[in-house]
Symmetry: C2
Subunit: 306 residues, 2 copies
Amino acid sequence: MSQIYNRVALIGLGLIASSMFWAIKRAGLAGEVTGYARGQATRDTARRIGLCDRVCDSAAEAVKDADLVVLCVPVGAMEQVARDIAPGLKPGATVSDVGSVKRAVIEAVAPHLPDDVYFVPAHPLAGTEHSGPESGFAELFDDRWCILVPVPDTPDAPVAQLRALWEGMGAYVDEMEADHHDLVLAVTSHAPHLIAYTMVGVADDLRRVTDSEVIKYSAAGFRDFTRIAASDPTMWRDVFLNNKEATLEILGRFTEELFALQRAIRTGDGEHLHDYFTRTRAIRRGIIQAGQDTDAPDFGRKKTTQ
Amino acid sequence: MSQIYNRVALIGLGLIASSMFWAIKRAGLAGEVTGYARGQATRDTARRIGLCDRVCDSAAEAVKDADLVVLCVPVGAMEQVARDIAPGLKPGATVSDVGSVKRAVIEAVAPHLPDDVYFVPAHPLAGTEHSGPESGFAELFDDRWCILVPVPDTPDAPVAQLRALWEGMGAYVDEMEADHHDLVLAVTSHAPHLIAYTMVGVADDLRRVTDSEVIKYSAAGFRDFTRIAASDPTMWRDVFLNNKEATLEILGRFTEELFALQRAIRTGDGEHLHDYFTRTRAIRRGIIQAGQDTDAPDFGRKKTTQ
């Protein structure tokens, strides 16, 4: 694949940034990739494992002459980073990010950027429960979606260029308005994560069942919850604080529905339960058909004999 | 491995029974395995794919001369099956089951069994989101737990024999009292399943977000919920109706905790959220150390480059 940007700067070197670096290298999408992380230990690790062509000791140094700057820090850290890099941005550069919420990031970042750069917020829908500079891998974005959320009056060219980069890293790309993005993600990601965190906390609190029992007997169900609940605490704290309205709306609906199912259990209304459970199967089939998951039993953890 | 039973009868031919058959054959644990399912289509499928050494057209025929009879039907169907097979059971035979709740199964089955058979309820903690006679595979129980719940006054010999069978099928075996089993499973499996069903239903109801958007953008979080929520509706209806008390207790605690986290989001209490999310990570580590899951990123869906 051909080069999309001459120089790319990654600010923050966690799971997403490190995966971007390996994906950019895999396809030769940039001439040089610089990187910066606030922590000295992170920068040392990055240098040791060859993450980024050049690891810089300041954000200003990393963004110098960069054609694309991608903010890969927790949502709550975006505003400070925007302030730090703004004076050193090259005129005509594109600034993007990978935050899980978009309205709050736009409000935090856009006011600090000079008029002669383009801001094209983005959100790759990919991740694992691991974090840090050593957790990245080139295939993370393959066949996953990346949503671009251009701010009003952005010309087509910088958006198309960023789209080409994400496609080059293996992703499908879509565009969406910021508030709609935040609602869709509240449903598909933010509320499910909060629910998983809650259930894992409840299990831990229950004194009559030991942690060892919970752990030993967590075959189906709970095990998937713990995977979700093991994600980075700082990232998720910032997601909930910055997508407050949509998350609370979805959780309100969730509680209503859960109460209705609890009532069905209490009153022994088997038909209500069966109908509900039958309906949810269809969504699962849709996800498999949309290619967002595998149909292999148990996520392919075990081989089948057939 | 050596033969544990001369003849085993499997009543009901879904995911668990079909996996038991392949696991028994893999290790040569029984001389002959007979099978029965209520549906003609299921019996036809079983005959076509070679599931069971002999597929019978009645439960009475299947259990004739069997040394072990395993009830592999939904919990709500256990009582009728117990009535059907009771007259044909061989004296000295062991009757077991694989139901996800144990107190209700004991109450439904035990009164109908003759005095000269042993009842040793069991619950293998293994499954996939698939069901039916073609979904089984020999490795399903490998390194998973099977909990035996012997009723009072059962001699050691039939319990030890059933334990040997499950160990021969690859499982770890534990023993537990029925009510404690039902509480442990309410935490690790039943409540998480109801929660996953609920969240999938909420997503489907939300008119401002299309099903297509939910499906396309369900990278992390929601995707794992749909897997859980795709499980067999009849089985799960029966689980909730038959483990009512423990499930409702856990859901009550869950709702309390969820309200506390919602309040933290609403009031912007980032410290509360961060502390909570940090605590849940530890449980996840415990599960990986206990060998109940893989540490591979994203459940091994993607290969890493490192």
